[in-house]
């Protein structure tokens, strides 16, 4: 790297007493955070705060002398925790900034005050500027993005809570107003942030910095290819989400629809626990079967497949239907009192006159059917009542679980 516009710096030798410099600089850099951390306790006059103040000052001195970041952080954390426990209104998030500041001061001390240096530098004049510019640009992009995303989430949430009267206010009551609920809420917010950063912000930054013609071409090509293959294979995040939603819905409905049927079987079981296990197994099994069928249907509907090979013609269905026909005919022949000719003409409905069902089987079947028709209404009623009961039970369980978790 030659040229007149370079900064040259060479250092040959050993700085023997850099340890003192390090200690002093590290101490000075962290003195203000210590002051801020101690302020809420310093004002109070009880014994606990005085002891904690002294302890944290001691920890700080120890940390600075040993140049140990962990001890220094502890010296800042301990008074803040005490202050919060004692009920002082203290902005909590500031502690994170103290910690980051301790790390940064560690970095400064490490880079600037090296003990053994036989080093040589050759830098362009604009290199430090670029370094600072890139660092600040990337960090500030993230800071701004995180601020606006969190603001947006909060605004949307506020709008939803204020404009939907019943349901979301209930939701708010259950979720946000409780302790665990608020923790869950902040986790959701952070997860959304994580998703936005990981998928959009980082991609934009790295693509801008590493953009070349080749890369752009490759990206466009791969994007199209990926989308195409996703839609063909039913893979990819959106398709997966879609299919999982379907699975969830199936689970929900199968639970209710199976309930009345399995309720009748429950008498057969000696123990109720055994019945619950059986119920769960059946529920899962049926749901997955239904899910598999629906998945197949959806897959067939959404994908276009080229069939290179013609399907083989199968005679299985033909033989089955032939067997059924023979069975039907022989049954009628056995049970009918008429002679064969009339019987055949009636069986195939070839005669002009209306068929007269006066055989034993036909009579019996008719009777059962009439009975069933009379009672169908009550059956349906019974079924629906049980389905309602099932969902009530589910709601009850969820309610109990929520109460157990939230208190």
């Amino acid at each position: 790297m030659k040229g007149n516009n370079n900064l040259q710096y060479e250092e040959l030798g050993i700085r023997r007493s850099t340890l003192w410099f390090k200690t002093i600089v590290f101490g000075l850099l962290n003195l203000y955070p210590l002051y801020l951390a101690l302020t809420p306790l310093y004002v109070r006059s009880d014994i606990v705060s005085t002891v904690i103040t002294l302890v944290s000052i001691l920890l700080f001195i120890l940390g600075v002398f040993k140049l140990d970041t962990i001890t220094t952080i502890f010296s800042l954390v301990v008074p803040v925790i005490t202050a919060i426990v004692l009920g002082v209104n203290y902005p909590v998030y500031t502690i994170a900034y103290y910690v980051i500041w301790v790390f940064i001061s560690d970095y400064i001390v490490e880079i600037v005050f090296k003990e053994k240096t036989f080093t040589k530098w050759s830098i362009r004049l604009y290199s430090p500027l670029i370094t600072i510019a890139i660092f600040t640009a990337i960090i500030s992009i993230y800071l701004v993005a995180s601020y606006y995303v969190s603001e947006a989430i909060l605004n949307i949430y506020d709008y939803v809570v204020s404009n939907t009267p019943v349901m979301f206010q209930e939701f708010h009551k259950i979720f946000i107003s409780t302790r665990v609920g608020s923790l869950l809420f902040i986790i959701i917010v952070l997860f959304i942030l994580f998703y936005v950063f990981e998928n959009y912000v980082y991609g934009v930054i790295s693509d801008t910095l590493l953009l070349t013609k080749k890369l752009a071409k490759l990206r466009i090509y791969s994007l199209f290819k990926e989308e195409l293959s996703n839609s063909l294979k039913m893979s990819g995040p959106i398709n997966t989400l879609f299919m999982r939603t379907i699975l969830f819905v199936i689970f929900y409905y199968v639970y209710g629809l199976l309930y009345p049927v399995l309720e009748t079987i429950s008498k057969w079981f000696m123990y109720h626990e055994l019945f619950i296990i059986f119920y769960i197994i059946t529920w899962f099994l049926v749901s997955f079967i239904v899910y598999a069928i629906i998945k197949k249907i959806v897959y067939r509907a959404l994908t276009i497949q080229h069939k290179l090979v013609y399907p083989r013609i199968s005679y299985k269905s033909f033989y089955i239907s032939l067997f059924l026909l023979v069975l039907y005919v022989s049954l009628i022949a056995l049970l009918s009192s008429n002679d064969l000719g009339i019987m055949f003409s009636r069986a195939f409905n070839l005669s002009s006159s209306k068929p007269v069902y006066n055989g034993f089987l036909t009579k019996e079947i008719t009777r059962i059917y009439m009975n069933f028709s009379n009672k169908l209404y009550s059956y349906i009623n019974w079924y629906v009542a049980h389905v309602v009961k099932a969902y009530n039970k589910l709601a009850d369980i969820i309610n109990k679980a929520l109460k157990f978790l939230w208190g």
Binding site: M1, L12, I70, I73, V77, I81, I84, V85, G87, P91, V92, Y93, I95, A96, V99, I100, F103, I104, Y107, E110, I111, K114, K116, T117, F118, T119, K120, W121, S122, R124, Y126, S127, P128, I130, T131, I134, F135, I138, I139, I141, Y142, L143, A145, S146, Y147, S150, L154, S177, S182, L183, I186, V189, L190, L193, F194, F197, V201, Y202, S206, L209
Partner: protein
Amino acid sequence: MSRLFYDVKPTPRLFGLLILISTFLTLDIIVHGELSRETIIYSAILIGFVFGVKTLVDLSAKYFSKIEFKREFLDPLIEDKNVRVKITIKNSTFFPILRISMIDKYPGLFKLVKGSHQYTTTLMPRSETSYTYVVKPIMGKHYFEGLEVIVSDPLKLFNFKITINPPINVVKVKPKPIHIPVEISRAWVSRGLGFGKTRIRGYGQEFYTLREYYPGDDYRFIDWKSYARTRKLYVKQFEREANLSIIFLIDASRNSMRSLIGETPFEYMARVAAGLAWNLVKRGDWIGLTIRSYKVLRSGYGRGVTHYYRILDTIAETEWNPVEPKTTLGELLVKEAINIPRRTKTLFFILTTLLNKKEAEAIIEASTKLRASGHIVYIVQFLPELFELKLLKDLEAGIYYGLIYDEIIESRKIREILMRNGIYIVTAGPRDILEALYRLIERYRMVIV
């Protein structure tokens, strides 16, 4: 260079930070009973900061393949002489690497003298930085294990670690030839031997005298000028050159590598061989050097200053490997005798610790063969215990002597066996090797006279 795999990992610091933040959040919620809008926004900003820092490391990983690393040695590689090792890092991209920490893994036998092999810096765009550290090398072939690079963000929250091998990673350190004091060399050289020539007639370069031609003499040596003057046939005669032919056979097996590094018998052997080689080369003798380590190293057979450097290079090829060699010294001796290009009487010096009876028997067998063809074999037995005792004092020395007593007895027995078989054997310690060897060589030169 294997630089393809970069795995950006979070450090324990990040987990610590996150645990701290989450603890405070929980504490806040428990104490205040609800989540304030402010807390959400500030924790979001913190997460943003952490992600920004991660992006910096991720991008560094993407640019890392374009960064050049170079290792240079600023001084010649000679044992006991400090060598400056310079590591240069060049970033020709437009992206800065905010914290790069390097550890150069120099060979384990080397000693760090000045500076540090570890270096942490910020690598700015379009910049070049280098750091130098000084090591004290040890004779032989050594390997640099690689440059361990850790790239992280300034806060050390995320990093990736990679070991790269900059171009020069094998070093061959030459021995420091033992200095032959002037008194010794003068004492032996001044005994009327001049520059190693004898007043003996024979084939050589220097003209000695003319004599009358007898039938059967070589036509090539007829002096035609004298014939023109005197009408008689005369034959030219030359001085025979009394240059010696010497082969050093160094045994670099496990036993010769005992004692402290820098003071081992092997190193003494190599230094003495190198020192004597320089002296002999100046006098025009023919020399060869063979090292029996876990593989056999040969310098070849020759004379002149170039050959001397070849000998040094051969010594520098020796690896510090404790694997026992497969060939015995006897076998090697016979092989070397066969390979000598000139048909001259050759002096074989076997420099060994010789603590093995089998080896001794093989040497006896080989030396009888060599003696038949006119060669002379000398065994210079280095007593490793003397090398170790040199470093110990008083009680320690006594204890050590007690511990190795059996070995001393064994080596004495071996010596007796060899002497009974008529083999010349010389025992030497660290203080008297040079004299012993030098005396032997000069005595042999006198025998020829």
